[in-house]
């Protein structure tokens, strides 16, 4: 029986361009838990997510990820969905998904297209997609390779009601399977979150 995952941040601080974005951020997240990041624009939600994704180094403090896959860093066991899509406009929807599936050493399954109802758009060039459809495509990356930590930066932006429901379903399933998720959001995700971190209170 593998030990349940645990993500622990202690006294985290982040500096960008010589300015202290946040400091003294502490949280502990267990398997199956969702943490919502709240706070005004510029309060450091995205910076915290990028820091956890290994795309930035903390100015102070530590991040511990317990009971994950040995030899892999936290970043290698996480999905990060940021504001930019990481998909190529010149390639089709299915080509983009196939590329990420192969690059992330996984295989494309039929669920990846179905998760956000992209079947009908599969062979369309990404260039032709609307903003919401592109968002759905980049969120589909969550389904193509199993990663235990999901770092979502305002995942609901641009989504219609049906897609929001699909996203909720996806996150709930992920949590039920013992994963964890951190989402920066201004709106209601519609999932009962176990933790809320208010970035404004950490000057």
């Amino acid at each position: 029986m593998p030990q349940p995952l645990r993500l622990k941040a202690e006294n985290l601080a982040c500096e960008r361009g010589g300015r202290l974005v946040f400091s003294n951020v502490n949280f502990t997240l267990n398997a199956g838990e969702l943490m919502e990041l709240r706070g005004a624009n510029g309060s450091g939600k995205s910076s915290l997510l990028r820091l956890l994704a290994g795309l930035n180094t903390p100015a102070d403090g530590t991040v511990h990820f317990e009971n994950g896959i040995a030899d892999f860093t936290l970043a290698e066991q996480a999905h990060y969905i940021g504001h930019v899509e990481a998909n190529k406009p010149a390639l089709s929807v299915i080509e983009n998904l196939k590329f990420w599936a192969n690059f992330l050493e996984s295989e494309l399954n039929e669920n990846s297209l179905a998760a956000f109802k992209l079947e009908a758009l599969a062979s369309d060039r990404t260039l032709l997609l609307s903003a919401g459809q592109r968002r759905r495509l980049s969120l589909s990356r969550l389904t193509i390779a199993p990663r235990s930590v999901w770092l979502l930066d305002e995942p609901t932006v641009g989504l219609d009601a049906a897609s929001l429901l699909n996203l909720q379903k996806l996150i709930k399933k992920h949590l039920k399977c013992g994963g964890m998720a951190i989402a920066a959001t201004h709106t209601e995700l519609g999932i009962k979150s176990t933790h809320e971190l208010h970035m404004d209170k950490t000057p």
């Binding site: 180094t57 970043a75 899509e85 990481a86 190529k88 080509e95 196939k98 590329f99 192969n102 690059f103």
Partner: protein, 223 residues
């Protein structure tokens, strides 16, 4: 498993180059312009043109590759693909190496193959074509690898072209010197061998240094 990621990345970059046209067309146009304009500028002295031809062709190849360097990582940086690649299991140095090789396959290698026949516009001796092909194909790999350093350093700059030229030009000088030396084989039957060996050494050296340098530059950008 590593091969799967590398193959995916190479295939995607080739597909993108095919879909977008990319730098190859512009670079080819540049080479063609040089080849057409040099005889007009220097006059119809055929012996002079023949003597200058290898140097001019190398110069055209080198500068045309330089033209495409600033776009090597720009798109992947701007659309967040590099973020996801940094989080993959594939070492980031292998990502930059793979992208440099994809650049070689889609830009430098086709240019190195097309340039020698274009030398006919400069009255080149056809006996020189094989050695030109050999040296240019060998040297073009070094050109792509060194260009990846410049592309990485200027990934986040909108108009990085000039900066790339300034940064990479010194690194291109040895490739140019030994490339031209290898191609100018009219000193004797075996005279190009030492230069070809030096050119191979330069290519191998850039194979070792360039991926690390570009990965370090991109990491610094993503911070």
């Amino acid at each position: 498993m590593t091969q799967q990621s590398i193959r995916a990345l190479i295939n995607r970059d080739i597909a993108l180059a095919r879909a977008q046209g990319g730098g190859l067309g512009a670079a080819l146009g540049f080479i063609l312009a040089v080849m057409v304009l040099v005889p007009l500028a220097l006059g119809p002295d055929q012996a002079l043109l023949q003597r200058l031809a290898p140097g001019m062709m190398w110069l055209a190849l080198l500068l045309s590759v330089l033209l495409t360097a600033d776009r090597m990582f720009q798109q992947d940086y701007e659309d967040g693909s590099l973020d996801v690649m940094l989080m993959g299991h594939l070492p980031f140095e292998l990502v930059t190496l793979t992208k440099a090789i994809a650049h070689w396959l889609t830009v430098s290698l086709p240019l190195a193959i097309i340039t020698p026949p274009l030398g006919l516009l400069l009255n080149i001796d056809t006996a020189q074509l094989p050695i030109l092909w050999l040296s240019m194909i060998l040297g073009s790999l070094a050109l792509s690898l060194l260009a990846s350093i410049g592309g990485a350093v200027t990934a986040g700059l909108r108009r990085g072209g000039l900066l790339v030229s300034l940064l990479i030009l010194p690194l291109y000088v040895p490739v140019l010197i030994f490339g031209v030396a290898a191609s100018t084989a009219n000193l004797g039957p075996n005279s190009s061998t030492p230069a070809l060996i030096m050119l191979s050494a330069l290519t191998l050296m850039s194979l070792v240094v360039a991926p690390w340098a570009s990965a370090a530059a991109l990491r610094a950008y993503l911070r």
